[in-house]
């Protein structure tokens, strides 16, 4: 299971929104093989008829009233962290 190819690493980098150099891809490939090799011990676990645990609180669908809450934060305050804005909106580079 721990056989991981350069193409696998490339694919995961793309899925992760990352652009990596060939040297970086090689470095991560070696590290991932080691980490996934360690994780492979989970293969020995008998998981038949066992439900996965995604959370531990046992809470389900915590509801609140659908009302507007005033957090006391203005649009200008929220936009001040944006790298580029125009007319009260966030501006991004062209898509194509």
């Amino acid at each position: 299971m721990a056989d991981i190819s350069i193409d696998d690493v490339k694919k995961v980098a793309r899925l992760s929104g990352l652009q990596l150099s060939d040297a970086e891809l090689k470095k991560y490939k070696a590290q991932f093989a080691e980490i996934l090799g360690y994780i492979d011990r989970l293969e020995a676990v008998d998981t038949k008829d066992i439900e996965p645990t995604y959370q531990v609180t046992g809470l389900h669908n915590v509801m609140r009233d659908d009302e507007i809450i005033d957090y006391g934060v203005t649009q200008a305050e929220l936009l001040q962290n944006a790298p580029d804005t125009d007319g009260g909106q966030i501006k991004v580079k062209r898509v194509l």
Binding site: L15, Y28, I35, T53
Partner: protein, 473 residues
């Protein structure tokens, strides 16, 4: 002394000393300890303004709260108004939080005053603070040694006595490990006990907010303020029907408890000297009349493997938001939107962030999901069930907080070797259990920690036995 917090609050409330004076002293201690790099930024301006408010309110005879004028430090992944909130990552450099975390708001409402933001491994990814984009924090007990991580700046600040308490976060040991390495008390409450609203998310199914303090009573004092349901964090649980602080002197013995020593935590891969210190603590428990027995929890040997599937998976999702569009660093060289994403993330994240995001996307990707992610979450069920069964017999479970004392900078440069540092702490995280690291003594001048783990939701039992270690010390 069983509290360093309450004497400050009492002096402020009694008018013997002003909040302003306490804040100035804390700021100068921070300045004096600069070489340890425990803080990324000071929040001096707001701290001074708030101290003034507290002092004015006291003069008017108003109730200023249980923590009046008490200075504290927040790990830099807590959103605060003053200063930047960076999570020690270049990608968040310059980020000004537009709102504060619930915990910060609750502490301020109780009169406490944040004086600075503590260093951490960027996005809390690490066990040593070596992954901080702002340089590592030095261990106060030995400058060649790491303080542990990821809440290394918080633990070292408290060990250096800059402030009587610091906030940390613990996803797989990030409070308990640095507490152990720096010789302070690190408390990780039950998952859901404390709101995480306004805290930079790492792995949402195990992220917990907790404290670094010098005494157990101080952990309890702060927990009383920060615990409780929060409408803005839907994972918060119902509070326990009592307060955690006792106010009592630590001389009073507690009722006899049944303590289980986790066999897998006392094996040969724990340094012999650390094991000896733990044995001494166990003897003290026995002498105080408690029952101490060995208990085997085989699933804990799977915990680290489970953790390094589940947590990177959640990290990959939580770090998807750093795209250079709404806040934080944005690659100036990008000419298209996809170049903005890739340029921002590739240059803004450090190696460990990238490793975790990529491992996470790998174990979640089609074809590997069942083999890794689902299998890990299923093994997690075995772990949770094993703990549940153990708590039918034992009030608390104990073991070391880490396989040894602090290591030297650069000693664990291989990622997997670094991950193995968390082998004692990740189990409680995966099961959401309350756990504490309390000082257990020193090995050649460097501190080791005893870990006490309680049943889910039973924070009281953990704090009670932790206090017992101080009484019998």
């Amino acid at each position: 002394m069983n509290s360093y917090i309450l004497p400050i609050a009492n002096a402020v409330k009694g008018g013997q000393k002003t909040a302003a004076a306490f804040v100035e002293e804390a700021l100068s201690r921070a300045e004096a300890a600069k070489e340890y790099n425990t803080l990324i930024s000071l929040t001096a301006e707001r701290a001074r303004a708030r101290a003034k408010e507290v002092d004015v309110a006291i003069k008017k005879g108003e109730d200023v709260g249980a923590l009046a004028g008490v200075p504290f430090i927040a790990k830099d992944n807590f959103l605060t108004f003053d200063g930047e909130t960076t999570a020690a990552s270049n990608i968040l450099k310059g980020f000004k939080a537009p709102y504060q975390g619930t915990v910060i708001e609750r502490l301020e409402a109780a009169g406490a005053i944040c004086i600075g933001k503590a260093n951490l491994d960027a996005f809390a990814h690490g066990s040593s603070t070596e992954n901080s984009d702002f340089g590592p924090t030095l261990n106060p007990r030995g400058k060649d040694y790491v303080p542990g991580g990821s809440s290394g700046g918080s633990a070292a600040s408290v060990a250096l006595d800059i402030a009587p308490f610091a906030l940390g976060t613990d996803t797989g040991g990030s409070i308990r490990l640095p507490a152990s390495y720096c010789g302070v008390v690190g408390y990780k409450p039950s998952y859901g006990r404390v709101s995480r609203f306004g805290v930079v998310a790492m792995a949402s199914s195990t992220d917990v907010v907790g404290t670094l303090t010098r005494t157990v009573e101080d952990a309890a004092v702060v927990l009383d303020i920060i615990a409780g349901r929060d409408e803005r964090d839907a994972t918060t649980i119902e509070p326990e029907p009592h307060s955690y602080a006792t106010g009592a002197s630590k001389k009073e013995p507690i009722a006899k408890r049944k303590i289980g020593v986790i066999k897998e935590f006392m094996s040969d891969h724990v340094e012999a000297e650390t094991r000896k210190l733990i044995e001494k603590k166990l003897d003290a428990f026995r002498q105080a009349g408690h029952t101490v027995e060995e208990v085997s929890l085989p699933a804990t040997e799977l915990s680290l493997a489970i953790y390094y599937v589940v947590v990177p998976a959640e990290v990959s999702s939580n770090l998807a938001r750093y795209d250079g569009v709404r806040y934080g660093f944005s690659d100036p060289a990008a000419t298209t939107l996809s170049e903005t994403y890739e340029g921002t993330r590739s240059n803004g994240f450090n190696d460990e962030n990238i490793r975790r995001v990529m491992i996470g996307n790998y174990v979640l990707s089609s074809g590997y999901y069942d083999a890794y992610y689902r299998r890990a979450q299923t093994a997690r069920t075995l772990l949770v069930e094993e703990f549940k069964k153990a708590y039918e017999t034992y009030d608390v479970l104990v073991g070391p907080s880490a396989p040894g004392t602090a290591f030297r900078f650069g000693e664990k440069s291989d990622p997997l070797t670094m991950y193995l540092t968390d082998v004692m702490t990740v189990s409680a995280s995966l099961a959401g259990l309350p756990a504490v690291s309390v000082p257990a003594g020193d090995v050649q001048g460097m501190p080791a920690g005893l870990q006490i783990i309680g049943a889910y939701g039973n924070d009281q039992a953990v704090l009670e036995l932790a206090r017992e270690t101080e009484r019998t010390a």
